[in-house]
Assembly symmetry: C2
DNA sequence: ATGGAAATGATAATCGTTTCCATTTTCGTG
DNA sequence: CACGAAAATGGAAACGATTATCATTTCCAT
């Protein structure tokens, strides 16, 4: 449970955000993260949350991706890389392994001479309950 | 160059949008499509553009995806379903096949009992020129 | 303590998208 | 052709996420 290896300039806000993201484990939007911190009594401002997230993304400490409606969501990157199977109806989410994807991404990137390769992949549909 | 096989209820606006999308070939945002039509003298309203696109997406005539900044972009679907390999530095984009992904998405969705399955997948990195 | 730089957060501004609603167009029927 | 209902339209306002502004506060090194 190391809080990070990147010993860059981290301010209080950055650390708070990282802590919440570690705790919640998955994705969260800026607004959600803000609410969580507020609910815990932290008076942090929305502006600061956006700023901290932006800087964490720049430093490659968190990943930024998009929900289907375009809202930005963030997650700690590095450790557990997995993908999601999301129900379009109820929003239920299953974490799945993406071994095939990893290989695909690597192969394709090599074929075209790309370096520092990352990828995103999500599957969405209607779950059995809906 | 058939204008479509889906002989559903299509109004004038739907057809205009399809025409522009066919002409431009690639992706375009709602705002861009609106501007293009306006520039051509069509007095179509932004609201109508959004409405038409929405309905075309519902009828699975166009695909909706997202730019990196979250803006919605549309393209005629049907033709070639492919994925993108994007350079984070210069923005250069290569279209790639995703056979492996299609299979993966299908398999995973079945395993968890999901229906009406779709997926997104992008690879990003630094291209050889950068 | 003190001055300056960095951080903060309330407020306002932006921008894409959606909702509202009054008006216009389309179209089937008499 | 006329009439009315239903569908389509578009301008304006509403909305929600994100960003910019700017005055105030916190941090530190001196």
């Amino acid at each position: 449970m190391k809080l990070s290896a990147a010993t860059k300039r981290m301010n209080k806000s950055d650390l708070k955000l990282i802590a919440v993201l570690e705790r919640t484990g998955g994705f969260a939007s800026a607004q959600e993260l803000h609410q969580i911190l507020r609910r815990e009594g932290d008076g942090i401002g929305l502006t600061t949350v956006y700023r901290a997230l932006q800087s964490l993304v720049d430093d490659k400490i968190v990943d930024l991706l998009r929900r289907e409606d375009g809202e930005a969501i963030y997650r700690l990157c590095g450790d557990n890389h997995h993908h999601h199977l999301v129900c379009k109806s109820c929003g239920d989410t299953v974490e799945i392994e993406g071994g095939a994807i990893e290989k695909w991404a690597k192969t394709m990137a090599e074929e075209f001479g790309f370096r520092e390769v990352g990828h995103t992949a999500e599957i969405f549909g209607i779950c059995s309950k809906c």
